[in-house]
Symmetry: C2
Subunit: 340 residues, 2 copies
């Protein structure tokens, strides 16, 4: 009973703070939300919430502000994902209509997400791991360098320059290409390794060193480069809520410049396609302690192939953000699924 009202107070504080960006006091709370109690009672509740570490005051005699933990409770127990407005849905539809390329889909989606959330959006390219090999091509680049191109059924193309040390004839390249293709065509990338492992034995001794290098590179390509690419959009939105976090946008920008960081952000929430919210210090990245990250997986068919999400200030509008993120993920999934 009492506990319920306390949570209602917390919810009210979060909502007010998110919309006004100013510490919220007991009087204003009592006025704007119909909690049915007086400011004095709210003060008592606030004191209790502060003891629990859910809210804090920037200075004595200032209003209260939610802490990271406060947002956590809000997200977990007090809020529900807010569905998108009709206008937004329509916007998504028109925005993502008529895509061709995988690149195109990724780029449009991430821009769209940045636009509707007014935050920084990111999207990870579909994992190579779960996709299958469509084609492999070897192209001599003169001397001892060759280009390995791997085309996955997701439409993604991986390329890699290999230095074999010794020259390879076009004939050899062709034969090798054919052997590889006939072994791995149509199988999943994860299953490539065992298929090509013994391939080398079918080549004469003098060709083996070069062949070995190529195969090694191929294996690296399929196992290492899983999901390395992340696309970003909306960094200019950082400027809006500029002075919010510790004075400067710099650490955030720095963090977002690092592919590795982005991959960790997206990768860690690898619990399938469920919506993940990491708030403030829950992010282990130094520069992002005053941001929240909302991510979700998107699927091709019924298999989750990668993640997308947004980065924003801890005092973001969680219900709307979560709604937008999951909506875009669904649309992206639908497009990827339809395109095959």
């Amino acid at each position: 009973m009492v506990e319920d009202r306390r949570l209602a107070v917390l919810r009210a504080i979060v909502e007010d703070y998110v919309s006004t960006h100013e510490p919220v006091g007991s009087r204003a709370l009592a006025e704007r939300h119909s909690l049915g109690v007086s400011p004095a009672t709210i003060r008592n509740d606030m004191a209790a919430l502060e003891d629990e570490g859910l809210i804090a005051q920037p200075h004595t005699s200032a209003g209260r502000v939610p802490t990271d933990q406060g947002y956590r409770v809000f997200v977990d127990r007090l809020s529900q994902v807010k569905p998108l407005s009709v206008a937004e849905r329509r916007a998504i539809g028109t925005f993502l209509d008529g895509t061709v390329d995988l690149d195109d889909v990724m780029q449009r989606s991430v821009r769209l997400l940045a636009q509707i959330t007014r935050q920084v959006a990111m999207i990870q390219y579909p994992s190579l791991t779960r996709s299958t090999v469509r084609h492999i091509e070897l192209v001599g680049l003169g001397a001892s360098r060759i280009l390995l191109v791997l085309i996955a059924d997701t439409g993604r193309v991986e390329q890699r320059v290999i230095d074999t040390g010794v020259p390879m004839s076009d004939d050899l390249l062709g034969r090798l290409r054919n052997r590889i293709v006939e072994r791995v065509n149509g199988i999943r990338l994860v299953d490539v390794a065992p298929q090509v492992a013994d391939l080398i034995e079918s080549f004469p001794l003098n060709e083996r060193p070069a062949v070995a290098t190529v195969i090694a590179s191929l294996l690296e390509t399929v196992v290492e480069r899983h999901e390395e690419r992340v696309m970003l959009a909306g960094t200019s939105n950082l400027a809006s809520f500029g002075e919010d976090w510790g004075g400067s946008v710099r650490p955030v920008l720095e963090a977002l410049e690092e592919q590795m960081v982005l991959l960790r952000l997206l990768g860690e929430s690898r619990s399938g396609d469920s919506l993940t919210v990491r708030i403030g210090h829950e992010n282990e990245v130094a520069g992002l302690v005053s941001t929240s990250v909302v991510t979700v997986g998107y699927a091709r068919g019924d298999e989750v192939v990668a993640q997308l999400g947004v980065v924003g200030p801890t005092r973001m509008d969680y219900p709307s953000t979560m709604g937008s993120v999951s909506a875009v993920a669904r649309y992206v999934g639908r497009i990827l699924t339809e395109q095959h």
Copy 2:
């Protein structure tokens, strides 16, 4: 004589302002630079410079600040490119050593440039126009969609998904691929069009619609997608000189997010490989009126293939920036040249 001293005063003002970021007055100027005249004389010169529109004062009774035009004169007549320090040269060497991929070269170079200039760096991918075709591959993606992959001798790979409307057999794809390759292999991209124009006539009537679509896409790929890709680094450096331009970093970030804007910035200075500096309002991009852009072309062999450069505040250290930009361009050129 007098004119000379005035310019010396302008130079001193620019240098001091760039290093202190504060309006500079006549007294400080007389002290820090040995101009051999008294503050009063300098004041007269300043008044003259102000009449010419080269400097301005933010408020009455504040020091002077260079205007865009002032910087222009400084860059054109008063400064010379400052060569890099030994340490910096060494840094470049080690940083760019051991690159394999074209992507790798681009990424490392742009990061390096951002790091040593402490500004935002950008680099354009080598133009496809001037390079030659190394290989072309057509891969069926099922149904009526095929993937066109074009590999240039610069190591760059262009891919494009084509919807032919009608299914194409692997046999047809193979024949078409072979025909195209034998026609265009080794020739420059700009010369591809005439070579493949009449290719369609060698196919039977029933295959022509599909073939026509593919060839049309190929032509688009070689003529339209010249130099579309630009890579960016160091945006977090924007935060350093944050409050400099009109209060917010936002317009700058917004401008830099647009590929088109970047391409214009790099593309407009298409006067060969000469160092170009565009100052403040000389940039026609709305968001960048309070930034300066320094660009230069880089070459593969003896042919300029693309541009690179930096974006920073108008009150940047022009001599050093220009030195760094052209040094990195030379190194990049050398690497590209060596790799073939």
